[in-house]
Amino acid sequence: MIINENNYEEFLVDYLHNELASDLVPEFELFLHTHPSILEEYILLKETILTPDTDIVFEKKELLYKEEPAILFPVYWIKYLAIAAVLSGILFIGYTFLIKTKIQPSFVAQPKSESTLPNIDTVIPTPQNKKDSIPINVVIHSTQQKVNPILPKVNLLQHRMAPQVPVDIVQQEKKEKQQTPNEVVTQSPLIPHSIPYIPNKREDTIAMAQPEIVPEKSNHILMMQDTTAVPLIASTEKGILKFINKIAALTHQIKLKKEKIKQTNLLVFVGNTKILNINNN
């Protein structure tokens, strides 16, 4: 046994203050019970342990506290947010109403007179049963390649009244007529028969049911003016853009295939209003 009557005080004070190692506690407790006088001393010492008087409190804590910064909720933000929300709602409703207004009138594309819309020769009526579609007329307008004209040196006095036509254009037209003497632009098989087809001298016209279908014909057909009405879901702006991209790709394809095509114009009409003119030059 480590604890004895000669060294117990050191263990006693540790045991009294709960500082005695846990492995020594049983041994010391046994020592206490075997030594009544030391146990009595321990009881007296234990009575000297003070307990805090909880009635004593520091009553001036307010002197110690620091004021925390008040969390000021920015009220003006709420006002601006409310205004923004109302405006957004109005814009959304207005936009929706505008779109529906444009869709609901059953647009039937009517051919315009040449004076007002000279390039559109044929129009395909929009299907009436699709109320949610936007009728879009697509006109692909391609012109023949032109060489920089070289005006002949002529006596202005002699040719005062005569129109001055570039020599190369005249020659080119003659050449083309010689090369394709019997070529008359005929209606593409893709074109519905009900659609009138009016060929033009310089700008033949063809109507395509599907804009991505390019009729393989002569150069004259590529010099075409195409009018079609394509149903499109109106509520999707993305769909319109996708549609236009297809048309643009088509015109580019035409240009690539035929070297003589100098420029291609893509005209998109909503109703009778031209909303887009892409010069794919």
Binding site: E19, T48, I49, K66
Partner: protein, 162 residues
């Protein structure tokens, strides 16, 4: 340490610190001043003090402020009136052991009294008390034992008187 954390420390430890200081200095105004000074220093050192050791830091500051105050008090030989609820000589006659111990406590040397209060009131270990008072653990242990023996003697005298 944020303001919120500081205020939490006031709420948690101000009473304990005040109780410890008041028991030693036995003057309410002095005890309040020491507590306020301790918290003021804590706020000034808020960036340096570890949150988990704030109580120990507070008692360390309070202890040294207390020691300084006691030294000044001894020099001026002021006799402070002791509030009745904090213990007085008249209460020893009530044969109340607790009050007899409190009276005996007042007779202890300042250092032993402070060690007893740190041990009994706050439950600090020898090591923590040594850290606060700048004493070794063995010194703390010896001083505490001596204080206990003196308190026990007062109790023995009380029992004999009864």
């Amino acid at each position: 340490m944020t303001i919120h954390q500081y205020n939490q420390q006031v709420k948690m430890h101000a009473d304990d610190l005040y109780r410890f200081v008041l028991k030693n200095i036995r003057n309410q105004q002095d005890a309040e001043d020491i507590v306020q000074q301790s918290y003021k220093i804590l706020w000034m050192k808020k960036e340096e003090v570890d949150l988990e050791k704030i109580k120990s830091y507070l008692f360390t500051v309070g202890y040294h402020k207390l020691v300084d105050a006691l030294r000044k008090k001894k020099k001026t030989h002021l006799v402070e009136s002791i509030p009745e609820k904090f213990g007085g000589s008249s209460e020893t006659k009530n044969h109340d052991v607790k009050k007899a111990v409190n009276e005996a406590l007042e007779k202890l040397p300042d250092l032993q009294k402070q060690l007893v209060l740190l041990k009994d009131y706050e439950g600090y270990s020898y090591e923590e008390i040594g850290s606060i008072t700048k004493l070794s653990e063995n010194q703390v242990k010896v001083y505490l034992f001596r204080a206990r023996l003196q308190l026990k003697t007062s109790l023995i005298g009380l029992e004999n008187h009864i």
